[in-house]
Structures are given as C-alpha cells and as structure tokens.
Symmetry: C2
Subunit: 223 residues, 2 copies
Amino acid sequence: MTPARREAPLRRDDVVAAAIALVDAHGLRALSMRRLGEALGVEAMSLYTHVANKDDLLGAMVDAVFAKMSPAPAGTHWRAALTTVATSKRAVLRRHPWALPLLDSRRAPGHATLAHHDALLGCLRGAGFSVPATGHVYALLDSFVYGFALQEASLLLTDPDDSADLAREMLERLPADTYPHLVELVTAQAARSGHSFADEFAVGLELLLDACAGIHVRENGAS
Amino acid sequence: MTPARREAPLRRDDVVAAAIALVDAHGLRALSMRRLGEALGVEAMSLYTHVANKDDLLGAMVDAVFAKMSPAPAGTHWRAALTTVATSKRAVLRRHPWALPLLDSRRAPGHATLAHHDALLGCLRGAGFSVPATGHVYALLDSFVYGFALQEASLLLTDPDDSADLAREMLERLPADTYPHLVELVTAQAARSGHSFADEFAVGLELLLDACAGIHVRENGAS
DNA sequence: TTGACGATCCTTACACCGTAAAGCTACAGT
DNA sequence: ACTGTAGCTTTACGGTGTAAGGATCGTCAA
C-alpha cells in the first residue's frame, strides 16, 4: 500500500502534544506508541522519526509541562514572585498529574525545565538571598510543591474537586477503632462541606514563605 | 513435568520481599512477573496464587516500605517526634526511591500506611495541636518529605552519595550563559567538596518545624 | 532533465509483557 | 477411600517497545 501522505509532515511538537493530550485524557498507561500513532493518523514506527524512543518522548512531555508554568515575574517582590511560581506550578502539576512520577526517572532535563529553575534562582539572588540561602529556599519550596502535588495526585485518583465526598467515602473503609486520629481528621474535614485538600496549599505556602522571610531578614536586615 | 515441590510453600510476604529486593537492585522496570518468579524458583503464573495481579503486588510493596518507617515515638516532645519520623521517612524513601512514583497510583492504602499516618496524627493531637492545625502541619511536613525524596530520587539516578561529583558533571552540560544562576548555584555547591544535597533536608526540616512551633504557640501559648 | 539524497512513512518481525484457562500433584478432612 | 483444595505448571492470547528493511516523495546538483 502506498504510504499515506499527510497535508503537512508531522513535527516533534505535534507528537509530544498529542501524547500529552492522550495521557491527560486516559492516563499514562494508555500511552503506547501504537495508540499514539493512531491518534495522529500514522503507524507506530513512524513516530520514531521524531522521537528517539519512548523515554525520549516522556522526557519531552515533562519538559512541555514545565514550559506551561509561569516563570518568575521580573521586577516584583521576591515573595510575590515565589507565590506566583509555586501556585502556577501546583496548578500545572494538578492538571498533568502523570508528570510527577516521570520527574524522577528523567536524567536530562529539557530547556524549559532548566530555564524555569534558572529564572526562579535569579529572582532569589536578585532579592538579596545569598547563594546558600537561595539553595535552601529553593529546595524547601520545590519540595513542598512537588510533595503537595504528589499527595494531591494520590487523592485525585478518586475525586476531582471536592474532597468532602472523598472523605466521606474514605470513612466507610476506615475502622474507627484502629485509626482513631485518622478518622477524627477526615471526619472534621468532611464535616466542613466544601473543604478541599487544595486549601492546605495556600496555608502551607504562607508558612513556608514566612520561614524564608526569616532568612531574608537575617541576611539583609528588615526591609 | 512434575511440578517442583518447594521445601516450604511460598508466602505472600516472600513474594513481596523478593519483589522489593529485585526492584531495589535493578529498578522498577526490571520487575516482571516472569523475572520475579525466576528469582523465587517458580513459574510466573504461580505468583498469582499469592497476589491478585501486578497492581496488587505493587500496592503491597508500597505498604511494606511504609512499614519500615519509624512510627512516631510515644512520650517525646512533638518536635522531636516529627524530626524522627520525617528523617526516617526520608531515609526509607531514599533507599527505595521507586516507591514514590507508585504512591500516587495506589487507591487503597495498606495497614502499615494507615497506621503510620494515624500514629503521627495522634502525636500532634496529643501535643495540643487543634484538628485543623494538625491537618496543616501534616500536609506541610508530608509534602516536604515526599517532595524532597522526589528531588533526591531524580538526582540519585546518576550519583549515589556525593552530589559534588554530580554537580561537576552537570556543569559540563550547562551552558553558563543560558542558565547563569543555575550554574552559579551548582558551582558553589561543587566548590564545597563533600557537600550533599541531602544536607538541605535537615535545614528545610528545621525551618518547617519552626513554622509549626509558631502555630503551636499561637494555639497553646509559650511552653 | 536526470539522478542521487534525505526526510517521512510503512510493513514485517522479535522478544517480552500481564494474565486467562485449564491441568497436575500432594496433602487435609471427611 | 473419596473429595476438595492449595500450590504449582503449561499453554496461549493480545498487547508492548523497537530493530530492520523498504517505499515514496521533495529538493538540489550535475
């Protein structure tokens, strides 16, 4: 059979975008070269023209996710900048939860990833944080964001928006006498209808930024 | 052929333990039912006597990892208890980095997991934290630990112990004019030979616990 | 105009994966 | 002695990533 001729040849970005769309819709497990090819109207092996192998594809997907995160806005107070970046990062990771497990199997970060990190570091250095302090703040903040996203992803498996329902359902499976404190916490949350685990993010972030402000004052005096 | 008769029948725990050993040694990708069977001197299908399917196995592995973490010690100051738990948790996750990506695809946590969480919550409630504050502290702390472990796992891919070597190697791939701040930070770390990214954990944890102490004082007054 | 070349896509093939289905064997309980 | 069942095996099926080797085109040099 004569090979199908597409109106425009496939680009690497098309492949990556289609893969992200597919995974967003149907989960990481649904991403196979054959299915991805099908979504693009192409045989599986054709994808290898644009992508070295599946791992390369996954790496590109992760980088594309990083590209979606707001970079540190220039010219704003460091605290506002950190808030912006952290919030955006969490939002993006929440929309693409599959990116998190991929994060730790990628050995060569892409340009968007590196640029994102660099911009935030630059923001901190510009704000007067010393190099070691910048390292501390960055490790602290990033850990929090990633870890929060990880927990959120774990919860989001069952419930998309309102954790209250999830909490109620969870209670049915938790023997109250075996895990009294867990039950207490979940009950209290479920009671406050509309409460979302996501709210914890803002609280935690504020606490974290307070801690960073402490470092900043120690190094630069009160502003 | 007559089925091989083992001296003692296989137990679920044996299967899980062997799977963990296999994955510790050769990575998650190396875990296939056939290989695991081989490691146990058994055909792949025999494993299904002890395990519902591969997902069930992975869940059991995660729970076994949780079981290795030190529970919150009773009768100590909450701050010491949190330090113990967080440190232990990180250490365990560092030894079994594959558990992290698995965390967020498991929908039914095992007993060890639930018990671990319950103990820590109990410790906080006992120390005088209100229910909402306990939620905040817990989300904050757990996010940090998971996120830190995630970043560490991502770095550990190439270098096991001393990040200084890793930093030096990384520098060779980073164009200094494209990512100036990234290069600055990595350079500074590489300069301090023997510096390990792992040191950031203690620093971050201290900052975090300070923030928690703030909450505690606000709720209970100075102790 | 011709002819070589490289990019894009296709077909075929292979080893490996998870697991459904069915059968074997040896012990436990009646 | 008969039956059930727990542990293990064999076989088989559809799916996976990807190596190898064409096929068809647009482009550019001769």
